[in-house]
Structure formats: C-alpha cells, structure tokens
Amino acid sequence: MKRMILAAVLSLSGVDAAFAHAQLQSASPPVGGAVAAPQEIRLTFSEGVEPKFSSIALSGPGGAIVTGAAATAAGDNHTLVVKIGHPLAPGSYSVKWRVTSTDTHRTQGGFDFTVK
C-alpha cells in the first residue's frame, strides 16, 4: 500500500516509478531449511530480474552440481528458476546467486539447505 502511495506521488510528479536492488524474499528449498530431494531451485526477489544476466550456482558434498540455465517463472519476472538434472542425495547443499534487476542494479547472496 505504501509503495502504491509512493508510486502515485511519483507519477503525479511526472516521474515513472520503478524499483530496483533485487533482494531475495523467499526461496524453495527454503533458506536454511531441510527438504526432500528438490527438482528445481526457485528464488523470489523483491524486484524483477533479467535471467540473461543472472545466475544460480548449486554445490553439494561432491562439489559443483550442473543445473539448467536460469529462467524466470512464467508470467513472473520476480522469480528465477533453475532445474536440477538429477535427484540430489541426502546432505548439505549451497546456493549462490547473482542477479541483475530489470533496471540493471546487481545484487548477490547465498544460502544453505539440507536434503533429507
């Protein structure tokens, strides 16, 4: 609601409102969580992101794990998805992400999750 008010004020001033600096809002598997073997990694950001200039790297007990290319979810450019090619064995895994928001601000981060 507050963002809408801000956007309304800015539009009245003749300036297009847009939002940047994409911050991770939620993830699947969840940040620090424990899950059954996931089929994909899905990261939802506070802003829209550009998949061509964004990446998600996954590593596990045996080192780096090959994933598919990062893509945005259908109809939702706030959510970045990579497919995992094979089932993950139980253990601890790390995700490192780097994203470029739709207005070119860059952010990065990382977290761990556990496969039961």
Partner: protein, 304 residues
C-alpha cells in the same frame, strides 16, 4: 541588539547545542550481499541518490539545560557512480530561544572501494557547514569543514558454523571539525575529533542468507546501536579541559525495498553531553530504487 551581541549569543548557543546535535544521515549502501542502511548518528560508507525527509529529533536538555527539537532534510545526488554531493538544512527549536533555521550543510563523498565477497566498503568525504546561513542563533558565523573516512564491514564471510553471527555488521566513521576561524566574537572555535561506530544485526540478511523468516515485518527489521563521540583536540585552551562528549543510540530500522524508517533513543554518555533521554526518527527514501531512470541515477557514467 548589536551584531557582536548576536554573534556571541549565536556562538554560545551553538556551543551548548553542539554535543547533542544529530548529524544528517546520508546514503545507504549495497556491497555484495550486504545492504548497509542509512544511519542517524554517523554516516554509512555508501554514496547514493537518496533523500532523508524528514529527520525529527527531540533532545531533553544540554549541559546548560537547553531543550531542543529539530526537523531537517538531507538530499544526496550522485554525479558519477562512485561520487556524490549532498545538501541539507533544518529548523531547530531551543527553549528560551524559539525556532530558527540551522546552517546550510553541503558535502561531497567518494566511494573508495567495495569488496563484495568481504562485504567491505569505504568512502571518504567532506561536509561543510556554511556559516551565517542560519536564523535566530541556530548556527555559526564561520564555516566548518568536516572531512571524514567511513567504512563498513559485514560479517557474512564468517564460517557457516557461525551462521547466526553472519547478519552482524559494523560501520565506523572518523573525522574532524575544522572551523575556518579560530575565534568568533571572542569565542574560541575548537578543532574537534569526531568518531563513532554502529553495530547492526540485519534480519533481511538473516532471511536471505541464513534462515527464512516468515513474518513480513520481522524480516525487514535491523536492530542497531550507534555510538557517536567528539573531543576537542586543538584551539580549546580558553574553554577548559578537553572533555569527550557523545551519545549512545539504540534503536531499530525498518528497511523496505525503496525506503526505510529509523527510530533511535539518544542517551548522553556523560553530563557534558546532556541530560535525559532524547529520541530521533527519520524517513529515508532510496531514489536509486524509486527513480532509477531519472533522479536516481548518476549524471555521468551510468548506473552503479
């Protein structure tokens, strides 16, 4: 009333109010996974396009028992991606004196480095308090130049075994006040060493890097304590022995995607710094996020 009497009153009031005057907050900063929020007592290490509007403070009593309140703004604008300028001013109330406008402050700041994997960044800048731009004795009759070095370090590089410490960050600032007059109307204008630091625990960082927080408000909070000190180091021999003044400011910042609100208590560290507990609050807009294609981008050199 003669101009000399006015100047003496202005200088005396400025001296009495100085220990507890809140510094204007400048830009927030992003380095790697770390977002250093805009802080109230000391400057953060970033350069950005932002506006603090308003900053409101109430301070119960200085050493001389002067109660004060103020409302101010500060605007920062990037010229180049790593270099920005700022200006700000405020209205201040002191009991027995009424309301007046404070001196205009201008500044320039350059981000020296950002090491994303270390969440470490630093900047150097200078603020200038332009004398005689006040009304009703709420400023100085001289210019005051304040160079400062600001640094910030996030603890995200700690090993995963210390995961719950990784949301911690510290920022620090050290600088000097250098008046361009040694005396004004018979009053000595000391050179002060200013230093301070903040300790902050970022729940947004916790949510994104340690463990997911489901509560929508909690995951945007940054509990923080600021420590802010000043001590005369030169040109103070007629003012008595050098005394360190300062405040400790515990509080919390609510960080939305494109704005933040900060609220802190102001606790004087000694009787020379004031009496009682004050409060300072600030609404702060990140123009680089709100208007990335217009006011929120550097004039030259593209986006950060």
């Amino acid at each position: 009333m003669s101009s000399r009497t006015l100047s003496v009153q202005a200088a005396s009031l400025a001296l009495l109010l100085a220990p507890l005057s809140p510094a204007p907050a400048l830009a927030h900063a992003v380095c790697g996974s770390r977002v250093f929020p805009a802080t109230l007592a000391i400057d953060d290490p970033g350069v950005g396009d932002e506006v603090a509007l308003p900053t409101i403070s109430y301070l119960p009593a200085s050493l001389a028992g002067v109660e004060q309140a103020s409302v101010s703004y500060n605007y920062t604008k990037t010229i180049f991606p790593e270099f920005g300028i700022s200006f700000g001013q405020g209205a201040q109330f002191a009991n027995g004196q009424g309301w007046g406008r404070t001196d205009l402050q201008i500044g320039a700041k350059d981000r020296l480095f950002c090491l994303p994997d270390w969440e470490l960044m630093g900047s150097v800048g200078v603020n200038v308090d332009i004398g005689k731009t006040y009304t009703n004795f709420m400023g100085n009759d001289f210019n005051n130049y304040s160079p400062a070095l600001d640094v910030g370090l996030g603890f995200g590089g700690l090993p995963k075994s210390l995961n719950f410490l990784r949301p911690f960050a510290i920022t620090a600032s050290i600088g000097e006040d250098m008046p361009d007059q040694k005396f004004t109307a018979g009053n000595q204008n000391p050179t002060n060493l200013n230093w301070g630091f903040t300790i902050q625990y970022s729940l947004p960082y916790f949510n994104a890097n340690v463990a997911q927080i489901d509560n929508a408000i909690l995951k945007r909070l940054i509990p923080i304590t600021e420590f802010n000190f000043s001590r005369p180091i030169a040109n103070f021999d007629t003012l008595g022995p050098a005394v360190t003044t300062g405040t400790v400011q515990p509080g919390v910042i609510y960080a939305a995607d494109s704005w933040q609100f900060a609220l802190e208590a102001v606790l004087p560290i000694n009787s020379a710094s004031g009496r009682g507990v004050g409060v300072v609050g600030e609404l702060h807009f990140y123009l680089d996020d709100l208007m990335p294609d217009t006011l929120g981008r550097p004039i030259f050199g593209g986006r950060k």
